[in-house]
């Protein structure tokens, strides 16, 4: 998909003005306690949570330092179990590989579990263009698909929509159903989707899922879901294709168990998601069901290049969404404003890391560095620090706006010259202090319209502390 991250400011402007989106974001923040609060409650009930975070971080750091070895071991075990591993350097290579597998089994329709890698390589459009029909089955992804949108959150794809918008989309799309039917209750919407998608599951030739983990010890892929769609996607068709980026691998089943303890709690406040499924290879000789083929797409698409750089830590991300659930910027503008696959704080690091700072430079800048994301990240990823590294790259390449650069350069110039600094600040304080003395603030300040457009600027008291201090010491 074509990123619009370069237009973040305009996207954000439209998002703030979008009443329906703002209503939906209200449910995201506060509905049924909101995802942030649910996480907080789940964490409060597990005394070992912080210790588990430390272990989870250590597992991923160890794995990343030995990523090649663990990927080879994964491949060996996956192959021994009858699976096929496909190494793909780029999104294009991955797309072509998926299409080839679909063609070989004569696929007409493909069901899909939720996969952010699928979004990253834009697999749906590619399959459609090549005569294979992709059908999203996660309810949120299905809703987004029939609206021709992209997901706005990595766990809850339709979080930007109100129930009424969902109802409208169902009516517009499910035209084979009685227009007079009741659809005002969320229960009715869910049952309608369940009914329609049930047949799609049964008819699909290929099922594509993502992977929360790949396990080197056993050659296994793991998905973590609540709906059961990921399981129906992989069990029923002729072939199961797993889309996984390189950094999904962990060494052992025990390692997965450790990280699972922090994953669901961080994402939705659940102790375990309803379905955590470990899949290894195609159906065995005596099995009564299961896919005839099992393929794992190992996608690089920039990951190996991030290793050994100051951005390596983002590869620990387990896609829980806690950062965006707790980010006040995300809560203000929603996920689409970020303009690509990954929104929120993790998206503000991963997006420029994968598609470049020229396109996505706005994202790491649109942060107050409040640090809440890092404080809730189960993998202890230093998100603000990496956003700051991107700002350093932009500064060195002179990508930031001229006015801001000039202002900061002037400030730094003065701050390095205390005598001049003190003289000028005294002058500014005195002038602005006098101008603002009666009302105490400025309703309008040229050069500060961004601020005074919507809030007053408090006036200085009229003298600087330094000047007063010297005077008091002298006197």
């Amino acid at each position: 998909m074509q990123p619009t991250s370069h237009a973040f400011k305009q996207n954000a402007h439209e998002a703030i003005a979008d009443a329906k989106l703002q209503q939906a974001l209200g449910f995201f923040q506060f509905g049924q306690a909101g995802l942030a609060e649910r996480r907080r409650q789940a964490v409060a009930k597990l005394p070992e949570f912080d210790t588990l975070r430390d272990s989870a971080k250590a597992i991923k750091d160890h794995t990343l330092a030995h990523l090649d070895w663990y990927l080879e071991r994964f491949e060996k075990n996956c192959t021994e179990a009858g699976g096929h591993v496909h190494w793909c350097r780029t999104a294009e290579e991955a797309r072509q590989t998926v299409l080839e597998i679909c063609r070989k089994v004569g696929a007409r329709t493909v069901t899909k579990g939720k996969s952010m890698i699928g979004e990253e390589i834009a697999i749906n459009d590619y399959l459609s263009e090549n005569g294979v029909v992709p059908i999203e089955t996660d309810l949120g992804e299905y809703i987004v698909q029939i609206r021709h949108e992209i997901p706005s959150h990595i766990i809850a794809p339709a979080i930007h929509l109100t129930q009424k918008q969902v109802e409208q989309s169902f009516r517009e799309t499910h035209t084979h159903l009685d227009p007079a039917r009741q659809l005002a209750e969320p229960r009715q919407l869910l049952d309608e989707a369940r009914g329609i998608l049930r047949q799609k599951f049964l008819d699909a030739d290929v099922g594509i899922t993502g992977a929360n983990f790949l396990i080197a010890e056993t050659g296994t892929s793991v998905i973590v879901t609540n709906e059961g769609n990921g399981d129906l996607t992989q069990l029923l068709p002729k072939a199961h294709i797993v889309l996984a980026s390189l950094e999904k691998v962990v060494p052992t089943l025990e390692d997965a168990s450790t990280i699972l303890r922090v994953l669901a709690r961080s994402a939705t406040g659940q102790e375990m998601s309803v379905y955590t499924t470990f899949s290894t290879g195609p159906r065995r000789a005596g099995d009564l069901d299961g896919p005839g083929e099992y393929h794992v797409i190992l996608l690089d698409n920039g990951r190996s290049a991030l290793l050994g750089t100051e951005f390596q830590d983002i590869l620990r991300c387990i896609r829980c969404g806690a950062c965006m659930n707790n980010c006040p910027v995300y809560a203000s503008v929603g996920g689409h404003a970020y303009g690509w696959v990954y929104p929120g704080p993790m998206g503000s690091v991963l997006t420029p890391a994968l598609i470049g700072v020229e396109e996505a430079g706005n994202l790491p800048n649109a942060s107050t560095f409040c640090g809440r994301c890092e404080s809730v990240c189960p993998m202890r990823i230093p998100l603000p620090k990496m956003m700051r590294h991107f700002r350093e790259q932009e500064y060195e390449r002179k990508l930031s706006p001229k006015t801001v650069r000039a202002g900061l350069a002037l400030w730094a110039f003065l701050a390095k010259r205390p005598a001049l600094y003190h003289r000028l600040t005294r002058l500014a304080s005195s002038i602005l202090g006098r101008l603002g003395r009666r009302s105490g603030s400025f309703y309008n300040l040229p050069l500060a319209q961004g601020w005074t457009g919507t809030r007053d600027m408090p006036a200085p008291q009229g003298q600087t502390f330094q000047a007063m201090w010297r005077a008091r010491r002298a006197g």
Partner: protein
């Protein structure tokens, strides 16, 4: 652990916003520090901690400012800062910034070990548990992000505020949510900043408090400016906004932030 040193020498890092906009905060800080037995000096060579340059990716200028700050302050027993964000810059970020220059890195580490945000210094290092001031009003408190997450400032201001005679403290829902100032953020993304400060002031209004306190001038100016603008547009009096040091020191003669001079 309370520090038993009889009369420690404190270097006050006053911060540019306090220096230029609200010296009364600086004097309140001095009063509190002297009350708990410190001598206070204000080195003249201080200007800015370097955070605006740092968060804009200008490491070179940040390093220059960091080195000046270290030079000006390393002779003191403690460096005390009436700001969580400037305090955090000195205490947490200088060492990382100068990590590739071993001599400066060492000096930065030593300075970091002796640098504190004001209220946490009074409470955690000097063992202060009560203040002798009076404030008649209902107060709500906003946790500035850097102070909270980088320096662990949370319970200390609340503990000391509870000892102020006449003061009633009500918790602010979402006290730990960013107010939207973020230094250059409010200039680069004013619309999002305004949305965040609107949510914050909604929460403040909902408490029914007549006074808002916090430990960082950036946050305070942002919230005070919004509260005043809303009060003007809707009618009614704006919540009074002050730096927590002013109330703890009993220095509330100066008009609140953004407020008109009375009389």
């Amino acid at each position: 652990m309370a520090d038993p040193a009889p009369r420690p020498r404190v270097g006050l890092f006053v911060t540019c916003l306090v220096d230029v906009f609200r010296p009364s905060v600086g004097f309140a800080a001095v009063k509190l520090l002297e009350e708990c037995g410190c001598t206070v000096e204000v080195p003249e060579g201080q200007t800015c901690c370097g955070q605006p340059a740092y968060n804009s990716g200008d490491r070179a200028d940040t390093k220059a400012l960091a080195k000046r700050t270290i030079e000006a302050f390393e002779k003191f027993d403690y460096v005390v800062v009436p700001s969580g964000s400037c305090g955090g810059m000195i205490k947490e970020h200088y060492k990382e910034l100068l990590a590739d220059e071993p001599d400066w890195a060492h000096r930065a580490q030593h300075l970091a070990a002796r640098t504190y945000e004001l209220v946490s210094f009074l409470h955690d290092v000097r063992g202060m548990r009560t203040v002798n001031s009076r404030y008649d009003g209902t107060v709500t408190y906003h946790d500035s992000c850097s102070g909270l997450r980088e320096l662990g400032v949370k319970q200390q201001p609340r503990a000391l505020l509870r000892s102020v005679a006449g003061l009633k403290l009500v918790e602010l829902p979402g006290a730990e949510v960013c107010c939207g100032f973020g230094g250059t953020f409010c200039v680069k993304y004013p619309e999002i900043s305004d949305k965040m400060v609107t949510a914050k002031t909604d929460d403040i209004d909902a408490t029914g408090a007549d006074t808002l306190l916090a430990g960082d001038m950036g946050c305070l100016m942002n919230m005070a400016g919004k509260l005043k603008r809303r009060a003007m547009e809707r009618g009614g009096r704006a919540v009074r906004v002050r730096h927590v040091a002013e109330v703890l020191a009993g220095e509330t003669d100066a008009p609140p932030i953004a407020a008109a001079k009375e009389g």
